[in-house]
């Protein structure tokens, strides 16, 4: 492992192996239910697959982090507690949790299990992070994607836990774990059900020569022939404000903060995280390789910039941004 830990997504055992073979230091994954925030049909691990994958990863010098990062449904907390129990039994290196009740259970029932705080806990200030560290013993916090690099550096001066920052993939512009846009339209959200803009509510229809994407029947964007298309995530839609159409919340771009690796490392970030459990083996192999090369280059004192261009065609809408890391985003 280099000076920064590279954490990559795994939507399946095959993808986990691809990520690690391509140079990931750690991978994160979920079980096949709504206890994790990528609860897509056909995705994720059975407990047996998790156990085998953890063994394989450890044999290859890599770590596995299990996401139990949604909020337990009222009256059904048993399932989330059971997921944490299952994780503890498979030898995962840490669980990633957001819900206060699930954190309490992990701390009480499995004091030796390393706890990471999910980005869904929306802990973006030193006070919030300290609260979780003191109350539950979390060792690492995944930072909200709304902080700039300067803010991260300032934050790091005031906390003692490790931090993990997203550097590639889908971009979330709202405070995560606190966004109800999806459930307003579809009845399901990352908080309630582990999905944002669920596929069963998505339709693409050809209308007057253009492709219109809809979520729950609401038109979110319209693409001319040949124009790059996007998934109808609500915050990436095009809306009419005062008669003018615009991507009010966020352009349908993806995050690529590779150019900020050096700055993030200087700020004291422990690990960088790639989003995309739902993207597949080809995606994770390319992204992991590129970031592996970039981190290795950084550690050798070489400019990692050339590796950034390797990944542009993977971006939604074909366009990339450094997101909130640069303050101009606001």
């Amino acid at each position: 492992m280099g000076s920064i830990e590279l954490v990559c997504p795994a939507g399946s055992p095959a993808m986990l192996r691809a990520a690690i073979e391509a140079g990931a230091d750690s991978v994160y994954c979920g079980l096949r239910d709504d206890t994790n925030a990528r609860n897509f049909p056909g995705l994720n691990f059975s407990p047996a697959e998790l156990r085998d994958s953890v063994a394989w990863a450890h044999d290859h010098g890599a770590k596995v982090l299990l996401a139990v990062n949604t909020f337990a449904r009222a009256g059904a907390g048993d399932r989330w507690r059971a997921s944490v129990d299952a994780a503890a039994g498979t030898g995962v290196d840490a669980v990633i949790v957001a819900d206060l009740g699930v954190l309490a259970h992990a701390r009480e029932a499995h004091p030796g299990l390393r706890l990471h705080l999910s980005v869904q806990a929306a802990a973006g200030s030193p006070e919030a992070i300290d609260f979780y560290a003191e109350a539950y013993g979390v060792k690492r916090v995944v930072l909200p994607r709304v902080l700039s690099v300067e803010e991260i550096a300032a934050l790091m001066r005031e906390i003692t836990v490790e931090t993990e920052a997203f550097v590639f993939g889908g971009l979330c512009v709202m405070a995560e774990g606190r966004c109800a846009l999806s459930s307003y339209v579809t009845g399901r959200s990352p908080n309630l059900s582990g999905v944002c803009s669920p596929p069963e509510a998505v339709t693409y229809t050809e209308e007057e020569g253009a492709l219109v994407s809809r979520l729950g029947g609401l038109a979110l964007d319209r693409y001319a022939p040949g124009e790059p298309a996007g998934y109808p995530t609500l915050c990436k839609g095009r809306f009419d404000v005062d008669g003018g159409l615009s991507y009010l919340f966020e352009d349908p771009v993806s995050l690529n903060a590779m150019s900020l690796l050096a700055a993030l490392r200087r700020a004291g970030v422990t690990a960088v995280k790639v989003e995309g459990r739902q993207r597949g083996k080809a995606y994770v192999a390319r992204v992991a390789s590129a970031f592996r090369a970039a981190i290795d280059a950084l550690d050798q004192g070489v400019d990692p910039a050339p590796f950034e261009r390797l990944l542009s065609d993977l971006a939604e809408g074909g366009r990339e941004t450094a997101g909130a890391y640069r303050k101009t985003w606001r």
């Binding site: 939507g11 049909p41 056909g42 596929p199 390319r286 065609d313």
Partner: protein, 171 residues
């Protein structure tokens, strides 16, 4: 939808292929059921989407494939490209792109964003199928029921053929 200009739906080609479809259907259906027997994990992962009708429509062929995964008793039929089965989940795009998606060589999301493939109908079922194929690491040789050592040679041969056939960048 992008795609190389090719005799897509020429009437004569369609008629001939449809007339010859039965052996292809039998082979493909056998292959599907073979996978169901040897890889029950695949169908287990597919879940409810196993009962959906999928239409895989290579945009450069005059015929398409109607697939019903259906556990151990699914089938594959060859249909005309213009066939409109209601409530199906439809995936279309150039044949080589579809093949590359199938064996995980090509990133499906990129192919979709750049409009090389198109999805209609039951989006959730397509997502389930995509995620299942992603996880299953099936190859064409698995479908054809070819065991080792021939399977590896066949896969290597197919990989080589695909690599030579596809355009330089961004399949």
């Amino acid at each position: 939808m992008t795609g190389r200009a090719a005799p897509r739906r020429s009437g004569a080609a369609a008629v001939v292929l449809m007339a010859l479809r039965h052996p292809a259907e039998r082979l493909l259906t056998l292959a599907l059921r073979r996978v169901a027997r040897r890889r029950p994990d695949v169908f287990e992962r597919l879940g409810e989407a196993g009962d959906v009708t999928f239409i895989v429509a290579p945009s450069d062929l005059p015929v398409a494939f109607r697939l019903r995964p259906g556990g151990g008793s699914g089938d594959v039929q060859v249909i005309r490209a213009a066939d409109e089965t209601p409530r199906a989940a439809r995936i279309s795009g150039p044949l080589l792109t579809l093949l590359a998606l199938f064996d995980g060589r090509c990133d499906a999301d990129s192919a979709f964003f750049s409009r090389r493939i198109r999805i209609d109908g039951d989006t959730r079922a397509v997502v389930a199928l995509h995620n299942t194929l992603e996880a299953a690491e099936l190859t064409l040789a698995d479908l054809l029921g070819v065991g080792p050592p021939f399977r590896d040679r066949l896969n290597a041969g197919l990989s080589g053929a695909l690599n030579r056939l596809r355009p330089a960048e961004g399949l």
